[in-house]
Subunit: 143 residues, 3 copies
């Protein structure tokens, strides 16, 4: 069994942003030479998340619009009241959304490739940017 | 270490539908003879999802009702505007819900069985059917 | 390869409650001596969930408040109608939230430690307490 660990650096430019990181992940997988196993994408942040869906800008906008409507950035949050006056900590909305979508996703690897469907891409979701972010890629499998 | 991969074919009959696929998964696990490890259920689609909950028709209906209310099928979505006139692509609601619930779930295997609780079943969630769908089952562990 | 399985007992005291179980998980990981691999936290219940976020009481309260607003405990649920008169089964809200947040999360292990970010903690979410709950911790990796 072989275990590989690598990281992807993501520099977000907006408060809310979805970035397709599939190419970065595929490069790490290819370099690992692992043919069969599991790949975990893990975001070590509490105001960002990871998911899988179509790499289409209109899907990104619709998802973010829904999330903004459901968990508004300006709301009556206890976390924001606690940190009132520190704008970069007024981010309860981002903690809530990150907790629901989650910071971890696992994808099977078969014949050296991620088992993504035709339209699937791995998406990093920024909820409190712009920030410098990291995604940890952990691969466990056999060559 | 042993790694097994199999697929389950799911033919959905309605726009929204929840199907209990636990028996199919248990059959794959039993055939694999893996006694200890992890099982990943992975949906390679962007308008469906996977989760775990009670295999009770009223739970399925309550969950779908909530999702329909929260992310209505007919809405002011950019994805649907882009594909206006192509009914099978007017499915932004399904992309949004799939992104939030996620297409992947990992369950521990111990003594040759999934560690599902008494009431837990693995559920395939169709959000844009009817369609022919696949679920990939990947098992990593030891005999 | 080594595979370890352990459980954490959680006694919740309120209907809704978020408990930081990171220390319990770290103790299991340390005892396992596994240096490199994956750790899965799995909740074998259909009215609780698991996630990762900041271990801050105001974040817990804001998340629970949003969930209560979005999926109210008293609602027009078919599951509750089916079990009318059995108060402990009038918990459709908890089944819905558990299905969306999910009962499983996977975290990479590197150098004998969980790859949690600075502010990340593993959180058990009770949605239908008080109850005695269990969390299954499964670790797969190498020493």
């Amino acid at each position: 069994m072989k275990i590989i660990r690598d990281t992807i650096n993501v520099a977000t430019r907006r408060t809310y942003e979805i970035l397709d990181i599939t190419t970065n992940i595929n490069n790490i997988l290819e370099k690992s030479k692992i043919e069969d196993g599991l790949l975990v994408c893990y975001v070590p942040h509490t105001t960002a998340a990871i998911t899988i869906n179509e790499g289409d800008e209109t899907v990104f906008e619709d998802l973010l619009e829904l999330l903004k409507k459901w968990v508004p950035r300006k709301g009556d949050y206890k976390h924001n009241a606690k940190y009132a006056g520190i704008p970069q900590e007024e981010n309860a909305h981002a903690h809530i959304i990150s907790s629901i979508i989650q910071p971890s996703i696992t994808v099977p690897i078969t014949n050296g490739r991620l088992e993504l469907g035709t339209w699937q891409r791995v998406l990093f979701i920024e909820l409190d940017g712009p920030r410098n972010r990291r995604v940890i890629v952990k691969i466990i499998g056999i060559k």
